[in-house]
């Protein structure tokens, strides 16, 4: 059974790598955007789903990563340096954001992270000398790594997908290590976790810092994908979309962010056939899903099994 699971995973990965080769530019663009949001969602899923810390700040980390990539790439820095820089900058800031989580929980923590997102938004908008302010930064170049140019949409998709596989692999390894069990213990019962010797302070900070680093890497792909950054996509509204992505996909489930990113990024595009009604239909679908499947779409098999039993 375990062997079959690996074969299925490999088959899906190969299909996801090659299938977009048949797509036109639009399909490639939104599929790449889906991959970018998936990476950001993997990080937020660690913070929210596995470690049980609420965060409304992932949009800010996407923005920090995007602006890091925009500023550095326009200065001629290689993307080989940009990806780790974006991750490290976000890791460090995420570590700082983790400190409020040591004092407050639940909706109080949500407001603390929301305030952080607003601060980042104001910084991006007001520090025009660095960020271009409300005008943003345009003509961000696509990556060139080891003389391989990722300028064509399909090549850039392949690069994004490889980054996703690497980041997903690291997360899978992390979750199967003692760290993963420590995060789960922190989520399920922090007092008991502390009593069995888990350093809850350390793991709380790490949950934020690692989640933020994933947001930074996603941002470093977002900037060259859109080739323009401005503050608006990194506002609190986008952080809410990302939280929706994790919860609607299945919080604390490894592939939850993949499904969640389908809902947030791809579903509105698919619903365009409904023309003027497409966002209304999207809203109704989200409400229905939250009512019937509060555990997210990936909880559907469990729910069906529960009904049969």
């Amino acid at each position: 059974m375990k062997y079959l699971r690996w074969v299925a995973l490999l088959a899906v990965s190969v299909a996801l790598y090659f299938a977009p080769g048949q797509m036109k530019s639009y399909g490639l663009y939104i599929t790449t955007l889906w991959v970018v949001y998936w990476i950001a969602g993997v990080g937020l899923n660690l913070t929210v789903g596995y470690a049980g810390q609420i965060s409304l700040g992932q949009g800010a980390f996407l923005g920090i990563g995007a602006y890091t990539a925009a500023v550095l790439s326009k200065a001629g820095v290689s993307y080989l340096a940009i990806f780790p820089t974006a991750a490290l900058v976000c890791f460090a800031i995420g570590l700082l954001l983790g400190f409020p989580a040591l004092r407050v929980q639940h909706h109080y923590l949500a407001f603390a992270t929301l305030g952080f997102n607003m601060l980042v938004f104001l910084f991006l908008r007001n520090e025009e000398w660095l960020t271009g302010g409300t005008f943003g930064l345009n003509n961000i170049p696509r990556p060139v790594i080891f003389d391989v140019r990722f300028t064509r949409p399909l090549d850039f998709y392949h690069l994004s997908f490889v980054v996703l596989v690497v980041m997903g692999g690291v997360m899978a390894w992390l979750l199967r290590s003692p760290w993963g069990r420590a995060f789960a213990a922190l989520r399920d019962n922090p007092i008991r976790a502390e009593s069995v010797g888990i350093n809850t302070t350390f793991y709380t900070l790490m949950a934020f810092a690692i989640g933020a680093a994933y947001g930074g890497v996603a941002g470093a792909l977002f900037a060259p994908l859109v080739q323009f950054v401005e503050p608006a996509p990194f506002s609190v509204a986008n952080s809410l979309s990302m939280l929706l992505m994790v919860i609607a996909g299945g919080s604390g489930r490894f592939f939850g962010p993949a499904v969640g990113a389908v809902i947030v990024v791809l579903l509105p595009e698919w619903l365009r056939v409904a023309q003027d009604w497409y966002l209304a239909i999207f809203g109704v679908l989200i409400v229905l899903m939250m009512v019937w499947l509060p555990g997210g779409l990936l909880s559907l098999p469990d729910r069906l099994r529960g009904r049969r039993a």
Binding site: K24, S25, Y26, G27, Y29, I30, L33, R125, G133, T134, F135, G136, N138, N139, F222, L225, V226, Q227, F228, E230, A232, P233, P268, E269, R272, V273, A274, Q275, D276, Y278, L279
Partner: protein
């Protein structure tokens, strides 16, 4: 008898097929990349109505060179990354031209996509930097901020204003307008008494009004989007401020007058486009728009309408559907409203895609926009 699953499948398929737009083989496709949700919805809805009105008229008269226009409106949600997705989709579907976007950030991401595809786009954005990036297929539908602000600054000097409190919306539109205005003020010796930024979507403007009043300037210049301008005017009235308020296009637009009600009375400014302009073609358009949509058109409605008519006029002059030739013909071209009534006003374009045409000074009196002076096109000076 159909079982439940088959009925559901059939129903879904029918619903999907009914929603799909039908396009005849000889229709000419135009895609509209427009803000129909999010903060740009007020501007986008007016633009869309203007476009639809023009398409309806043109199709009723036989189309362009005998081909009917098939218009496809695609909502960009007022978000740059979605606007880019829509522009990419437009390029895939290979329309004749693309209309929109209106928000300058959305234009910024879309124009490189359409430029690579050598596809002309007719934008609603007014920020000055859009036409300074060397785009060969980008055309404005209204005056550039850098062209409009000198006209307003001259009006301020004529009105005896020596100091000004500037209130602007903190987005690319507001900041671009603020920067252009402050530059023009400096060259005319008008002092900047206060420089107050406001949030897009801001609800309460009491503090803004208090700070603007405290500056003790001769007048206030307000440059924000429609809803914010209306809320600002209401707050001014509520707090009893009697300073004259000036604006550029938006402040005295029909939409702001409708939203602000009596609070809009007394606002003055420069308008590039207005259905109240002393021009029979524009006024006739205003009547048709109001009859069709039960509301007055603002400048965005006129921008959408005239963009479609410009495409028609130039294509018919060329006698063929050729994107490159269309762009080349518009650059440096002048088009007369006498021969092309849908253009509403004579218009000319420079090599950057900026347009030039007459504009107006306006004042709101008794809930109506009253044109007080017609200013000639800059090129006619």
């Amino acid at each position: 008898m159909l079982n439940r699953r088959a009925a559901l499948t059939l129903g879904t398929a029918l619903a999907a097929s009914a929603a799909l737009p039908v396009q005849a083989a000889d229709d000419v496709l135009i895609i509209d990349n427009v803000e129909l949700s999010g903060p740009g919805v007020t501007s986008g809805s007016q633009w869309k109505m203007g476009v639809d009105l023009a398409v309806g008229e043109i199709n009723a008269a036989g189309g362009i060179l005998g081909r009917k226009i098939k218009i496809q409106h695609l909502d960009n949600q007022s978000q740059a990354q979605i606007a880019k997705a829509v522009a990419t989709k437009a390029v895939d579907e290979d329309p004749y031209v693309m209309l929109g976007p209106i928000f300058s950030g959305d234009v910024n991401v879309s124009m490189s996509v359409t430029e690579n595809a050598e596809m002309p786009i007719f934008i609603g954005g007014e920020a000055g930097n859009l036409t300074t990036q060397g785009m060969k297929y980008l055309f404005r539908s209204s005056l550039n901020q850098a062209s409009a602000m000198p006209k307003l600054a001259n009006y301020l000097v004529k009105s005896g204003v020596k100091s000004l409190a500037v209130v602007w919306g903190a987005n690319d539109f507001g900041k671009g307008g603020r920067d252009a205005m402050v530059k023009e003020m400096a060259t005319r010796g008008i002092a900047l008494a206060a420089d107050i930024s406001t949030e897009p979507g801001q609800m309460d403007f009491s503090a803004v009004v208090v700070n603007a009043s405290k500056a003790n300037a001769d007048a206030i210049f307000a440059y924000m989007n429609e809803e914010e301008c209306a809320r600002f005017l209401i707050a001014l009235k509520k707090l009893g401020t009697d300073k004259p308020v000036y604006g550029e296009t938006v402040l005295v637009s029909q939409k702001v007058i409708e939203l602000a009600g009596p609070a809009a009375n007394g606002a003055k400014g420069h308008v590039g486009l207005s259905v109240d302009a002393p021009n029979p073609l524009v006024q006739e358009f205003g009547r048709k728009f109001e009859a069709a949509y039960k509301q007055k058109s603002d400048h965005n409605g006129i921008k959408g309408y005239t963009s479609v008519h410009l495409v028609k006029a130039v294509t018919e002059k060329l006698g063929k559907f050729d994107r490159k030739a269309l762009a080349a013909a518009i650059h440096g071209g002048s088009f007369s409203a006498k021969t092309n009534p849908g253009l509403l006003m004579d218009v000319s374009f420079d090599e950057k895609g900026d347009l030039d045409r007459e504009s107006y000074l306006a004042e709101v009196r008794n809930g109506q926009q009253v044109i007080t002076e017609t200013l000639p096109a800059v090129g006619k000076k």
